[in-house]
């Protein structure tokens, strides 16, 4: 039973929601438009930095959120400007390189005053304004079998807010994907030239998609930071790869694919770890080996998914992810 609670707790955790958000952003890029963004973690990181640093400057929380989102938007414009005219894999190389650059800059000693270099920014330095907004009591609250703090860190407050934002963004995706605007993006995913021949400005649409997906990614970053801390190395390439895995797991181009993907991804990771630690003797699999062991499974899952079920759990076989 404990294992089940652990799994459920992971499923509703704010960080699961944060990944769902970032994956919704990636869904705008890949699922809707076919853009190969291999640097979504960079967008998340920019959002986190923009938010945390602004709060540290003493700016109000609303401004801080806007700064985080704006940073991602500017990043998207800079990356998209030259590459969206080139072949698709150039965007992949440039985004992954640029995301790494952001991380290197963030962990650089020369920016320590702002970013805290490789040790990052402690949560306590920027969480207060958000936690003060909490309507929940400032104490541990038990709801059913779950026990969390009302307002602090990974709290009921944060859980409610993040999942609220997830629903909002999923709704946004639904609204846009089913609008004439989304239709143009799907057309671009299928064949750019055909869409050009129909009189649409492909470049501008790709840029819009890149910006929206990146901004939602930054929102994911901010919500992630509110439950954890700002740590450049937690937003490296593996994060982007996990996002891809969970997006493909849930089903690209679907409304709830990223959400379901994130829940499945994190809860099965917890499940695997719990089962392994419960049933595999520790002289065979030491506790420190659990993490890498389960991530090996993630990698293998990604490989198998791509080859055998590219449409994911929710995807339509005819509207494959590829």
């Amino acid at each position: 039973m404990d294992i089940l609670f652990d799994v459920l707790r992971t499923a509703i955790a704010p960080s699961t929601a944060a990944f769902a958000l970032a994956a919704i952003g990636l869904n705008f890029h890949f699922g809707l438009t076919g853009l190969l963004n291999m640097g979504q973690a960079g967008f998340m990181l920019l959002g986190m930095y923009g938010f945390a640093i602004s709060i540290q400057q003493g700016w109000p929380i609303w401004i801080a959120i806007l700064v985080g989102l704006a940073a991602a938007a500017v990043f998207a414009v800079l990356l998209g400007w030259p590459t969206l005219k080139l072949r698709g894999d150039y965007l992949a190389i440039v985004t992954i390189a640029a995301a790494e650059m952001v991380r290197f800059l963030g962990r650089s000693q020369s920016l320590q005053g702002l970013t805290g270099a490789s040790s990052g920014i402690r949560g306590s330095d920027y969480k207060a304004p958000f936690e003060e907004l909490s309507p929940f009591p400032d104490a541990i609250v038990n709801i059913g079998p779950f026990s969390m703090h009302g307002s602090r860190s990974s709290s009921w407050w944060l859980t409610a807010v993040t999942w609220g934002i997830v629903l909002l963004c999923a709704g946004l995706f639904w609204r846009l994907a089913n609008s004439p605007w989304g239709r143009v993006l799907k057309g671009i995913r299928e064949d750019e030239d055909a869409v050009r021949s129909l009189g649409k400005n492909v470049y501008s649409y790709k840029m819009q998609a890149l910006i929206i997906g990146g901004v939602i990614g930054a929102l994911g970053g901010i919500t992630w930071a509110l439950g954890n801390s700002v740590q450049p190395d937690s937003m490296g390439r593996p994060t982007t790869f996990w996002l891809w895995t969970l997006l493909l797991l849930g089903g690209a181009a679907t409304v709830f694919g990223p959400v379901l993907g994130s829940i499945l991804f994190w809860s099965s990771l917890t499940l695997v770890k719990s089962l392994a630690s419960a049933f595999i003797p520790s002289d065979v699999l030491a506790p420190t080996e659990l993490e890498p062991f389960s991530l090996v499974l993630v990698g293998v899952t990604l490989m198998l998914l791509v080859v055998f079920r590219p449409q994911g759990v929710l995807g339509n076989k005819k509207e494959l992810a590829f």
Partner: protein, 347 residues
């Protein structure tokens, strides 16, 4: 195009430069993939860094030549190539360490402790075999099923995730040292360098010349270039394209392993994710030189190595990889086909 490039430079480097004024003057040594070799300082700094750059560039070239050959013959951007670098070094450590070792999930330990000069070649041989296995059970199957390149690329991402974590599971999270002795530095004119590093350089140069010899002077090597040029025509000429690709995978894995071993010697230790971290630099090198062009990988690696190391003269050392990636992005914008690549229409 150029305007965009300029904006990027201003954005990336400019912001750093301005903000770094507030940062601490004393920069910590980079511990990522390569430890900065202590420099003699003063006027010789530039020469020393140039030299370090060449050393790093040569080691990088060993790894990226294989990446480039794979891209050239199959069109795949192999994201799991970094793990091949780590794997070579780790398997050598496994064979050479005097400590007890074990396999994951197997509850017994044993000690191999071969001398390094035996362990290294055997490690490379095992890595080469691993290249064969990989192509046999994964890549050749995907080619046969005509799985699209983007899909194959994501499969390689999955493989990378699986391998890097497998290596961590197997070898632990701490960096390991292949040899315990310390390589004392010797001063040659303005350059300070250890003898092991010099030997590593020599081995790297010999191996790279070997690759060049293979490609230019052997029938198999010429067939490899033929497959890179035009797989359909190669097949129509009677070349078994799949066997050539299998050989390329083996060679790439072997070279990456050699690169990993030499890198572990050069930076005095290797961590489970050092190869993964190096992958970005390899991509930068290969793209810079011209995707799929084997000599392009060499040129690109040397440029990346030198840019990364020399940039530390003016920029904080922990930004040297960022600088190298910045160079990559700028080159991509100005010349998408890379330095040696043939101009072709892209998009």
């Amino acid at each position: 195009m150029l305007r965009a490039a300029l904006v990027f430079v201003v954005a990336a480097v400019g912001i750093t430069a301005i903000l770094s004024m507030g940062g601490t003057a004393e920069a910590a040594t980079e511990t990522e993939a390569v430890t900065t070799v202590a420099t003699t300082g003063g006027t010789n700094l530039l020469i020393q860094n140039l030299f370090n750059g060449i050393v790093f560039g040569l080691l990088l070239a060993l790894a990226s030549v294989g990446l480039s050959l794979i891209y050239g013959t199959t069109g795949l951007s192999n994201f799991a190539h970094g793990e091949m670098v780590t794997f070579g070094a780790m398997i050598t450590y496994f064979l050479a360490t005097p400590q007890a070792v074990s396999f994951p999930l197997l509850p017994f330990e044993f000690t191999i402790a071969w001398p390094f000069w035996i362990a290294a070649p055997v490690g490379i041989a095992i890595a080469t075999f691993f290249g064969w296995v990989q192509d046999k059970i994964i890549w050749s199957q995907l080619r046969r099923r005509r799985v699209a390149m983007i899909q194959q690329m994501i499969v390689s991402i999955g493989l990378s995730l699986a391998l890097v974590n497998f290596i961590q599971w197997w070898m632990g999270g701490r960096p390991v040292r292949l040899v315990t002795s310390i390589d004392p530095r010797v001063q040659y004119g303005p350059i300070s360098v250890g003898n092991v590093t010099l030997i590593s350089m020599a081995i790297a140069i010999v191996a790279l010349l070997g690759v060049a010899f293979f490609l230019q002077r052997t029938r198999l090597g010429r067939a490899t270039r033929a497959v890179s040029d035009n797989p359909a025509l190669a097949s129509a000429s009677g070349i078994k394209v799949d066997s050539i690709i299998r050989i390329v995978w083996m060679m790439a894995a072997g070279l990456a392993a050699l690169g990993g071993i030499l890198l572990a010697l050069y930076q005095q230790g290797i961590g489970f994710d050092d190869g993964t971290k190096l992958l970005m630099m390899m991509f930068a090198a290969v793209t810079l030189g011209g995707l799929g062009h084997p000599y392009g990988a060499l040129v690109g690696s040397l440029i990346i190595g030198v840019v990364a190391e020399v940039s530390t003269v003016w920029l904080p050392p922990d930004l040297k990889f960022a600088t190298a990636l910045g160079i990559l992005i700028i080159v991509l914008l100005v010349r998408p086909q890379g330095i040696l690549g043939k101009a072709e229409r892209v998009g």
